[in-house]
């Protein structure tokens, strides 16, 4: 048995979510009184953000609960779980950004963490200056950066602009430079959170390659991602977190299938959303009441043939409230890879009002997606672009797309790609 690089024992973390809503006053006297009392109540409220009583309180959540595991030196381990399952909290504790409430973790070796690329980048400074700033932020010394500077610049591919202020960079260039710094950290233990969700496809491949290299060099890697295929590709082992608990630990492939089986209750043509287990906690009453999937004939179903339009019928209970052109979003994923987000924000030009028992129906012509299991990974409701979320449910339900003889050849398209190509050949 090789040396233990990361050892976590009974780690727990509790948070207080949000600041409780104030009660509304409907008389002038009452309103005046509560306004006068406001500083005192606000003070207590703010204090409560970091103070906890012993009892279980309604607005306290355990982001992490009694998590224990060990990672051997040189191992690459993935962590998967829904949003809010505790993945990021776990990383934040291991990177010492936030302390645990109870439990203990021991990291043996030089640690580098990547929760975000480009932390500390300043737009007014040049690329060169930012490399030094960002490098020291991530824990390198100036000498180390001197030594690796050329390599970093070369990896980033922005050598020509290294003395230009970063504010003149495109966002892609900025990300490339930032990742290049991070990729040259040279740690013994590397903690990574979803940084691959940035940059163009080519650069993403480069990043994956670099991470693979790091993992193969015998460094210890803890990798959090939604991208299940990349977890399978990079990690030998994986943990599944759910509601703050470690529910599975084993081979990456097994972990991924465990996760997929657990998150969705089989295929469903419709689901009651009032008491959905994956609603993100919030101060408000649930608004979404149900989601149904309908085929072109208006029949409720959970399987659709390749190319067949899918209608999502979303019911909402808004009570007295009137929403003026809210943003409703239905996001679709396949094995953790985002396929698309159907959103009123960009897809609807006219204004509309929703109130009482409302219904929103969206018909999606998905093109020729490869057969397989798909999930409605998220439905959200917001009053406007910068408004807070009124309702938010993750991993809502799963449906499948089934084969169809799209080409009339009797042959079935490959399943390891995302799309079944909708095209023809011609010969001369």
């Amino acid at each position: 048995m090789s040396r233990i690089a990361i050892e976590v024992e009974n780690l727990s973390k509790r948070y207080r979510i949000g600041l409780a809503q104030e009660e509304e006053q409907d008389t002038l006297g009452g309103a005046l009184l509560s306004w006068l009392k406001a500083p005192m109540t606000n003070f207590r409220r703010l204090q409560r953000l970091s103070r906890f009583d012993d009892g279980e309180e309604a607005d306290v959540i355990w982001a992490l609960r009694d998590v224990s595991f060990q990672v051997a030196e040189g191992e690459a381990v993935g962590i998967i779980g829904r949003n809010g399952a505790g993945k990021s909290t776990l990383l934040k504790i291991l990177t010492r950004i936030t302390p645990p409430t109870t439990g203990r973790a021991v990291l043996d070796g030089r640690v580098a963490s990547l929760l975000e690329v480009g932390t500390g980048f300043h737009p007014e400074l040049t690329g060169r200056e930012n490399v030094y700033l960002n490098g020291t932020v991530l824990g390198m010394t100036a000498r180390e950066i001197d030594r690796k500077f050329d390599e970093i610049v070369e990896f980033s591919g922005v050598a020509k602009f290294i003395d230009t202020p970063v504010k003149r960079y495109s966002s892609g260039m900025r990300v490339r430079l930032a990742f290049a710094v991070a990729a040259h950290l040279d740690p013994e233990i590397l903690l990574i959170d979803e940084v691959l969700a940035v940059g163009d496809a080519q650069f993403q491949r480069k990043c994956l390659g670099k991470m693979n290299e790091i993992a193969n060099e015998g460094r210890t890697v803890l990798f959090v991602s939604h991208n299940l295929p990349s977890i399978e590709a990079l990690c030998a082992r994986a943990f599944v977190l759910d509601e703050g608990r470690l529910v599975f630990s084993g081979g990456a492939r097994e972990a991924v299938s465990f996760y997929l089986n657990r998150q969705v209750f089989g295929l469903a043509s419709g689901v009651d959303l009032r008491h959905h287990p994956h609603r993100l906690p919030g101060d408000r009453e649930p608004i979404f009441t149900s989601l149904r999937l309908l085929n072109a004939d208006g029949l409720e179903t959970s399987s659709f043939a390749i190319g067949e339009p899918i209608t999502f019928e979303l019911r909402l209970d808004l009570g007295e409230e009137e929403l003026e052109t809210p943003f409703i979003t239905i996001a679709i994923e396949k094995r953790g890879i985002p396929i698309c987000a159907l959103t009123t924000r960009f897809m609807v030009a006219q204004r509309f009002t929703l109130t009482g028992q409302a219904m929103a129906r969206c018909t999606w012509r998905p093109g020729w997606l490869t057969p397989g299991e798909y999930t409605v990974s998220r439905v959200t409701l917001k009053a406007g672009a910068s408004a807070e979320r009124l309702d938010h449910i993750e991993e809502v339900l799963a449906f499948e797309i089934v084969e169809r003889d799209v080409y009339g050849t009797g042959k079935i398209a490959r399943k390891d790609t995302l799309l079944v190509p909708d095209g023809t050949w011609q010969f001369f």
């Binding site: 010492r96 203990r104 500390g120 040049t126 390198m140 010394t141």
Partner: protein, 296 residues
């Protein structure tokens, strides 16, 4: 702006690792906070680049650029000369009022800017706070160094005024570095206190402006300590010395303008309370630090 980066002169370091190789134990915070000097030392390069960033960014895209370093105390001086010198006719210990107030405004402007910047430092950098670990003390301490060049530039203008008004410095100018350290320590101490408070209670952010204004009038910026001693006596003077900026400002005047004999008593008392402020600030900051990422 220069393009090549010069590095801080640092003693030869054999190891490249910043976090000393060895076990990192993460546990819930308990007991009294302590200041991890070794870690602070290990992150000195980061501190250096943060200070550099602050200095470099400060006057980019401004028309007047570095002139702002003089202008702020200079404009205050003109204002104060008119209001307190001409209209209110406050005593200026026998030197021309503009010179009297500018000598105080140079350290005061530094102090006020550092405290203000330090207070908001955690909030303006909250994106770093929640994404990466390093000693948080770097944030409020950065302005303590990064505002020094401005201070020195403003101080550099003082001899010009002195020549204009034909006032000559005393040999005590040699004590100025001590006063500068005291001034920086006071600013750092108060800055750490307010920064730690401001993360959780944003009110501190809004209130700090007024606090600094109150502190200015409480300090002998627009009036001399002799005015206070004349009215309230010697004991009051010594109590007043507990406010470290009193010793700093009177010390500046005594050394540069020779208005009063060097106020060693005020400086001594002030040095004690400045140290108390510095250490209590650092410990309070460390105590609150555990919560920063959760409440920022």
């Amino acid at each position: 702006m220069q393009k090549t980066l010069s590095r801080p002169a640092s003693p030869a370091v054999v190891s490249n690792t910043i976090v000393p190789s060895g076990k990192i134990v993460i546990e819930p915070p308990s007991g009294l906070p302590h200041i991890n000097w070794r870690e602070l030392l290990a992150y000195r390069d980061l501190f250096y680049f943060m200070v550099r960033r602050d200095i470099q960014v400060l006057y980019r895209q401004t028309v007047l650029g570095l002139a702002w370093a003089f202008l702020r105390p200079f404009i205050s001086m003109i204002l104060f000369t008119f209001i307190f010198g001409r209209v209110a006719r406050l005593s200026s210990d026998g030197v021309p009022y503009p010179l009297f107030s500018y000598t105080a405004l140079v350290p005061w402007t530094y102090f006020a800017t550092v405290v203000q910047t330090a207070t908001t430092s955690l909030i303006t950098n909250s994106n770093m706070l929640t994404k990466v670990y390093f000693p948080r003390l770097v944030f409020p301490l950065t302005p303590v160094l990064s505002k020094l060049p401005d201070f020195l530039l403003a101080l550099g203008l003082l001899p010009v005024f002195m020549v204009v008004y034909r006032v000559w410095p005393t040999p005590y100018v040699l004590v100025l570095p001590v006063l500068v350290v005291m001034m920086a320590a006071t600013a750092a101490g108060l800055g750490m206190w307010l920064a730690a408070l401001a993360v959780q209670y944003r009110d501190v952010n809004h209130a700090s402006q007024f606090l600094i204004q109150i502190l200015m009038f409480a300090a002998p910026v627009v009036w001399p300590v002799s005015l206070m001693t004349a009215r309230f006596g010697e004991t009051a003077r010594l109590l007043y010395g507990l406010y470290p900026m009193v010793g700093v400002i009177e010390g500046f005047r005594a050394a540069l303008l020779g208005t009063v004999p060097m106020p060693w008593d005020l400086i001594g008392i002030g040095a004690v309370s400045a140290s108390a402020l510095l250490f209590s600030g650092a410990y309070y900051f460390r105590h609150m630090e555990r919560r920063f990422a959760d409440v920022a």
